[in-house]
Every structure is written in C-alpha cells, then in structure tokens.
C-alpha cells in the first residue's frame, strides 16, 4: 500500500496511458468503454489523495525513475496544479457515463474503441502537462494530448470535423513548436529544464541576457496562447468544438484549454516573475487588452450563431478571456478570480455541452430553430441547461458570480474602475445569447423537430444534473473552489518580490 501511495504521481499518468493502449487492443466498443469507465473513476481518487497531501504537508516532489532533479524529470504537485489535476480527473469521471450512448450514437461501432483509446491518451497527456515539473516533459505531454485531441475531433460525424481537426493540427503544432523554441531559449540561458531550477538560475542571470529571457517569454506565451485559444489565436476552436463528437466537446471544452492556461500561469508566475520581478513582466498589458477584446468580440459573435455548439464555443472564448483577465490583473483577488473561473467555467461549460449532447442524441440537431419548445419535452435537460446558463451569465447564487466577484475586486484593488464596467458589460452580452436559447426552448410552441424529444436516459441525465447542481453548489459554498484558488494565488504571488 505504501509503495502505491509513494508512486501516486507516476500512477496518475501511467494508468490512463496503459489504459489507452489496452483500449486500442479491445476491438469492441463496449469493452473499451468499460475500461475507460474504470480508469476515469480511478483518476479522481489519485488526484484527491495528491491534493490532500499537498494541503496537509506542502508540495510533493516525485522523482521519475528515482533520478534526482535537475538531471531527472521531476513531477511536482503544489496547490496550483493539485487543483487542476483534481478538476481534470473529476470532470472526466463525472461525464464518462454519458459517453456510452452518446458515442454509440455518433460514432460507428468499428471506431469506438479507437475513440476511447484516444480519450485515455488525451487524459494522460493533460494530466501529464499538469503534474510535470520539467519544461520539455510538458511539451511531450502537451503534444500527446494534442495529437489525441486532433483524432477525437476528426472522429465526428460531419465531414467538416476532418477539416476542423486539420486546422487545429496546423495551429496547435505551430503553438507547440513556439513553446519548444521558448524552452530552448531558457535551456540556452540556464542549462536546465527543471522548472524550479530554471526559476532559480534565471534570477541569477546577467543583464545582457535580459533580451534572451524576454524572447523566451514571448515565444512561450505565444505558443501556449495558441493552445488556449486566446484571441486572436483562436480560430481553430469554434470549428473544433462544433464538429467534434458531442461528448468529446464536453471533455475538451472543460479541460484542454484550462490545462494550457495552467501551463502559462506556471511559466509566468513560478518562473519568469520570480526572475524578472512581478511588475516588470511586460506582457501584462498585452494580456489585458487581448482578454478584454476576447470578452467582447467573442460574446458578440456568439449572439449571431444559429448552431448552438458554435455559440457555446464562442462563449468559451469569452470565458477564457475572463480567466486571462484575472491573470493579467495579477494581484491576489484577480489571480484567485482567474483560477477559480478555471474550475467554475469547466463545470458550467461541461453541463451546457452535455445538455446539447443530450439534445443531439434525441433530435439529431443543435440548430436554434430546431429546439423550439424543447423545454416541454426535455424538461430536466433544459432545466440543467438553464441553471448552467444562468451561471455563465453570472447570476448571484451560481458559481459564475463568484468568479466575477473576485475578478472585479482584483480590478478595484488596482484602481482600474473601467475594467469593472467592462467585465459586467460583457456579462450582459452573454445574457443575450443564453436568453435566446432559453426563450426558444421554454417560451415558444413545440416545433416539429422537438416534438419527438424526451429526456435522455439516466446514464446521460445524471452527469448533466450533477454538474448543474454543482454550478449552484459552488455558488453558495466556495470553500473547495475559491478557497483553494485563493490559497494557490497566495502561494504563487508569495514567492515574488
């Protein structure tokens, strides 16, 4: 037992990795699903144990293969990535029951095992990016997750999924390569790839090397921004979310961009800010302006979409803007707001896409014209959608409000009054696109497409209801979300001058 506990960080990665391999060998869809289910449910147990250990006895340092850092690869779990690990594995565990029928409906029997295999690889990759303390190892896991993501998307029904996957492949690879260039700069400067070690050595750098440090920062930021779809490097996301299999979109929307954001936060606060001093990070203004642009432009575009998945994809872009805003504000409240929104948005977006997946399962369409009156036929589904939608808008009593509260407070502490108004004004735009869907679903007479619908089976309904309930729960009891985010922000900012 003790050996298992001692090697939990490695198991967090190895189990889904091996699971992915096995799933590929199991030709039958249902067997692959069963394996995925088991693996998905083990993941949060491991993450929970890791997070608990971090919260009680401080950061965990695990030496892969017993090679000591900085020569060996180190898996380092602290409050920040403990939180993200917990998020990714819990979301994966909650949504997996939904997959059985949804994937069976959208993907042919021959390909289902491949799908589950790729999902497990993606999970391993995302968890790996989060848990690793080595910059190049992060690249490897980033690409593992990205390559499997391209495949997940390409397995969508519509032929446009193939094109979306290809576009994502091109842009994602450019992003990863930029990231590698940035890491190359850091390696040339410090001779090390271990994140903690780089931070220490960068601090001791000579002034002539400042340009190289900035260049490394720039490449890493742009590279990761491509992965997290920060405006204007976002063009792959709407197509990818709209045409991927519904359940794949649920998982990706909730986790993939969040992990990229984590990586950026890690580099900005644990490595560069330590070396350069917090307020001399030149990218803060750029990040702030791009975030505000994302918040408004993406929300406005979302209002005009008729494909509901596309609408939610643009909504995700705006929400990513909120998270990056918190990071740009970079004080205790702002950073805590950004981090807590990582969790809150994942929950809300997963619920929304699950609802859309259920609708697609029943009526085969996610066009707004086709869901007229569907609230009467699928009341539980649309109720969950409404709750999550209200959360997205930032209604008090939901998780979304908490994020906005912290972000606004962060802006106020910096004295940036206009930022507060920009924040709430963009929330108002989200009322428009959420309200449009709710009006169509509840207040219009039942259309012909919606007439045949009814609530999905329990295996699909349960994850949806759980996540909708979580939206309200985490709006009223924020101990586990905002509490941890606050502590993580304090931890990140505490190491800076």
């Amino acid at each position: 037992m003790n050996t298992v506990l001692a090697h939990l960080p490695a198991l967090q990665i190895v189990i889904p990795l091996v699971g992915g391999l096995l799933a590929a060998l199991l030709r039958r869809g249902i067997l692959a699903f069963a394996l995925t289910l088991v693996v998905s449910w083990i993941m949060p147990v491991i993450s929970g144990l890791l997070l608990h250990q971090v919260m009680t006895s401080g950061p965990i340092s695990y030496h892969l293969g017993s090679w000591p850092p900085p020569w060996g690869i180190e898996y380092r779990v602290d409050l920040l990535n403990g939180m993200v690990l917990m998020l990714v594995s819990t979301i994966g565990a909650v949504i997996i029951p939904f997959a059985r029928r949804s994937i069976d409906f959208e993907i042919g029997e021959r390909r289902q095992a491949w799908f589950y295999s790729m999902y497990l690889m993606c999970l391993a990759g995302l968890l790996g990016v989060t848990i690793t303390g080595d910059a190049f190892n992060a690249f490897v896991f980033l690409e593992i997750s990205s390559l499997s993501t391209y495949l997940l998307i390409a397995l969508g029904r519509d032929r446009r999924a193939l094109v979306a996957a290809f576009r994502y492949l091109i842009m994602g690879t450019i992003g990863a390569t930029f990231y590698v260039i940035g890491v190359g700069f850091l390696y040339l400067l410090t001779g090390s790839l271990n994140m903690v070690d780089i931070a220490a050595r960068l601090g001791a750098a000579e002034p002539e090397q400042a340009r190289a440090i900035i260049a490394g920062l720039a490449f890493i930021t742009v590279g990761i921004s491509l992965k997290l779809a920060l405006f204007p490097l976002h063009s792959w996301l709407p197509g990818a979310y709209a045409f991927a299999p519904s359940w794949a979109t649920v998982f990706l929307a909730a986790t993939a961009t969040k992990v990229a954001i984590y990586l950026l936060v890690r580099f900005l606060f644990s490595i560069f800010a330590v070396a350069l001093g917090r307020d001399s990070l030149p990218i803060a203004e750029i990040v702030l302006s791009l975030s505000v642009a994302a918040m408004f432009i993406a929300s406005i575009i979302a209002v005009y979409q008729t494909n509901l998945k596309r609408m939610l994809a643009y909504s995700s872009l705006a929400q990513i803007g909120y998270i990056m805003l918190g990071i740009g504000i970079a004080n205790q409240a702002g950073l805590a707001g950004g981090l807590v929104h990582i969790v809150n948005h994942a929950i809300m977006k997963a619920a929304l896409f699950l609802a859309l997946g259920a609708i697609f399962y029943r009526i085969g369409s996610v066009q707004i014209a086709d869901i007229a009156g569907i609230g009467r036929r699928m009341p539980l589904t649309m109720a969950a959608f409404s709750v999550a939608g209200l959360g997205l808008v930032g209604t008090p009593g939901t998780a979304g409000f908490i994020s906005k509260w912290y972000l606004a407070l962060g802006a106020l502490e910096r004295g940036w009054w206009p930022m507060v108004f920009l924040l709430v004004a963009s929330s108002l735009i989200s009322v428009l696109y959420v309200g449009r869907v709710l009006e169509a679903a509840w207040f219009r007479p039942v259309g012909e497409k919606a007439a045949a619908a009814k609530d999905p089976p329990l295996s699909m309904l349960l994850p949806l209801l759980v996540l909708a309930a979580a939206t309200v729960y985490f709006g009223l009891d924020t101990q586990w979300t905002a509490g941890i985010a606050d502590a993580a922000a304090a931890f990140l900012l505490g190491g800076l001058q």
């Binding site: 190049f136 690249f139 490897v140 690409e143 390559l147 391209y150 495949l151 390409a154 032929r159 446009r160 193939l162 094109v163 996957a165 290809f166 492949l169 091109i170 690879t173 450019i174 990863a176 390569t177 590698v180 260039i181 190359g184 390696y187 040339l188 790839l193």
Partner: protein, 121 residues
C-alpha cells in the same frame, strides 16, 4: 559592417531562422494541405537545429566518458530532439492521414476550395 560580420559569424542561426520563417510562410501562404504539412515539417526541423547547434561545444569530443578527455559536447539536446523528431513524425503522419480522409470526403485537398464548399453548406 559589424552587423554583416555578426551575421556571417552566426551563420548557423541565420540558416535556422531562414528555415523557421520559410516553413511558416509555406504553412500560411499555400492552400494545398500537403504543402502546409511540409511547411510545418520544415518549421519543426529548424527548431531541431536551434537546439542541436549550441550542443556542440567547440573543442569538445563525443560525450562518452574517457579519462583522456575533459571537455565533452552536450548530449542532452540530442536526446531532446530525438523526442521532438518523434513528435514531429507522429504529427506529420496524423496530418497526412487526415489529408487522405479529407480527400475522400471532399475530392480535393485545397484548403480554399474546401472552405468555399463548407460555407455553402
């Protein structure tokens, strides 16, 4: 004059940057999907060079421990780049597989034509 001399001195970096930009240009400027993938490969290759070149320590020998030598070249970049090459190969293979399927679905591998067709859908 000094700038020119500096460029000539660091000819390896000039080549690296040229490949980088050339690869990116092909990705952006060419609409044929296979060409985009090739551009991507060129771009990734330039990054391999970026890592490998500083690995060679001038006056250093092959990185095999031997009591006769004190200065060794750095083996770590080679290891890293092997990994990166594998990733690159995987990406290229996946990309080409996607192109094959796109060709089956659309009858063309031209990005602009496909965009037009998608817009009409």
């Amino acid at each position: 004059m000094e700038a020119l001399l500096a460029l000539v001195d660091h000819y390896n970096f000039v080549i690296t940057i040229f490949l980088m930009v050339a690869g990116l240009y092909v990705v952006v400027a060419r609409s044929n999907m296979v060409k985009k993938l090739i551009g991507l490969s060129i771009f990734q290759t330039s990054v391999y060079l970026l890592y490998l070149e500083p690995g060679k320590i001038i006056g250093g020998t092959a990185p095999i421990v031997d009591p006769k030598f004190t200065l060794y070249s750095n083996p770590l970049p080679h290891v890293l780049i092997l990994t990166a090459i594998v990733v690159g190969v995987g990406t290229l293979a996946l990309g080409l597989a996607l192109v094959v399927r796109i060709h089956e679905a659309y009858g063309t591998t031209d990005d602009d034509d496909i965009a037009d067709r998608n817009r009409d859908e």
